[in-house]
Amino acid sequence: MLSLRSVTKRYGTLTALDGLSLDLARGEFFGLLGPNGAGKSTTMSLIAGLRAPDSGTLTLDGAPLTAASSVARLSLGLVPQHVALYPELSADQNLRIFGELYGLRGADLRARIDAALEAVQLADRRREPVKNFSGGMARRLNLVAALLHRPKLLLCDEPTVGVDPQSRNAIFEYLERLNREGLTVIYSTHYMEEATRLCSRIGIIDHGKLHALGTLDELLARLPFEEEIRFPATPVTAPLAARLAVHGELTTENDTHRFRPHPSFKLSAFFALAESHDLPGRLFTSQRPTLEALFLHLTGRTLRE
């Protein structure tokens, strides 16, 4: 459905996107995961036709995606990073304006507005100015404003920044439902939890380059360890920590050691070593590695840096 080929975008001397190539199939829920400044928003703006690439091509269903491509615009919906609504106007008026810009009229527009407001539980607040809405309510409205014209591809540029957990969950459920109904979604975020929950395929981007691409399982399989063991960083555990460094990656954060063993270092060997230091098993928790760990492994820095 969507294809990006060797797309490069520069802002002066800064290369925001460096030869990005990507293919998306219809119905995918694709996550673009990376820290701030990684190139996620630039990718979104190029796909949305807000900017032109310096080199490379973008196509949607085989047709070039350019700023002048009005047909492509009708197929796209953009949920901007900001709450891009008119605060003085009501929810109803905002949706009417954005619907009319896509050529929607009359009863059809009315019905779509009603359905959209029902879907994000804002029907009873439809006459209120958006400036009176909470952050979560405004974000929900921000989302449905991009959906009134029923696009084929929805671009969500970090749509949950500053949203309360309840609204975030409502947004997730709504997006998941739309995706089940066939909507293709590109979702940019720096929250690995969001990408993990929502996305069928994830691209990890940093400094304008796509470092990894695949399903969650495929990505995690790229890690040189299968488990991550955590235990408190105390004087009691210090001798064990000192011996673990040769058997894997050991990092310490917030008084917690995180140990990612080499594949050759079996869990049984780890616990044997712990037992030899008279450390009880309750000190240790083992869990599957996260995208955060993968990002750290791939880029040497955390998602929030």
Partner: protein, 471 residues
Amino acid sequence: MHPVLVLVRKDFTNFFRNKAAVSLTFLVPFVMIWLFGLVFGVNRKDSGPTGIPIAVVNASTNPAAQTLIDALRAEKSFRVITTTDDAAQRPLTEADLRPLMQAAGARFRFAVVIPEDLISATQLGLHLKFFSNPRNEIETQTVNGLLQKTIFSHVPELIGQSLQARAKQFLGDTSFTRFNAALASAISTAFGGDRAEIERQIASGDFGFDQLRKAKPVDPTLRRLDTPPAAAGSNNPAPAATTTPAPAAMDVFSKIVRFETEQVVGANVKNPAATSLVGGWAIQFLLFAVSASAASLFRERDAGIFQRLLASPVTRAHILWSKFLYGVTLGLLQLVVLFLASSVLYGTEVLPHLGLLALVSVFAAAACTSFGMLLAAVSSSPEAASGLATFLIMFMSAIGGAWFPITFMPEFIQQFSKITLVYWSMEGFSAVLWAGQSFVQILPILGVLGAITAGVMSLAIWRFNRGTIFG
């Protein structure tokens, strides 16, 4: 509906939901025009300065000096002060004037001293002293002119006295008395009357000015330069820009120097002062309004709304032209409201010219809107745009003639003012309201305003395409 119209409607919906913006656009200018009218004396009944505090010191024993003071008291332009304001309330002396006028919060900044030698035997004319602590040269000249007019209009016998004193000094007592007696005898023989009374009148400097006062004008259809025109079809004479002295006194001078005056433009205009001023005020308010609406471009950019719009079937051109159309329509509304306000408050004749006035308003609003768009295009933030707007609006209003007639300005500024949209907008309003010109006659002005709009808007679009407003 075309995207431009959807966006224009959105801007108006947004505008009318914002009560502060509506109030600032319509109500505040209305109140300001009313307030300016009070400040500048522009109202239906009267105009010109009133109650200028002026101290008068009388050191003369000449009875005409008191007549002069009475005339100054009768003049509405002045509020005559002759005594100190302490408990003693003693008459002011010349020595009092300087410290009193130099003091902070002085009661008066102008003073006239009628000296002992008001009429001098050695010099022709009157001797008066004028003290001033002016705020500007025009103020001094205005007060000075009002004083001279009052003196020579109301106390003309002083001139006769001066002539008599000078003649007496020149001829000597004997010859002077003989000359006056001979002159009185000749007048009495030729025209009748008591010879002794005529000689007394001549000696007192009374050359019959009182008779001149009583005489009718030679041609009653001719209007003197210093009298206001009577509005056509109206019983209310329009107020003049300067104070009108008593008609009887003025007749004296109309007999001596008779000006035949004809106001070739705007003779029939009701309340000419308001008519000429309202255009300038209106255009200032409009400039402030459109520069404020230009700031909305920054708000929409910062809120990410342009991203959303540009990702839809809306182009940059749609956004810019919708802002332009909105600005022009809002400007037209504001100008029409302000002109109607001036009609209600000051009787400016707007309704007979509403069509052409609306046309000029559209062109003026377009020029102002393009100015607002350029401000947004060249500024990096709403704060920068606001600061630049204030400076440029003040500058253009000052040199464009919105505050002050440009004929009072240095010649190079008069030339420079012609490149401002304020000047041409005011020219357009004057052409319609003051000169009553036709559509064909105002076409050149519309052409200039159109050219300003095209030029400024092109520059704005060029800057928008290279600036950061669209990200």
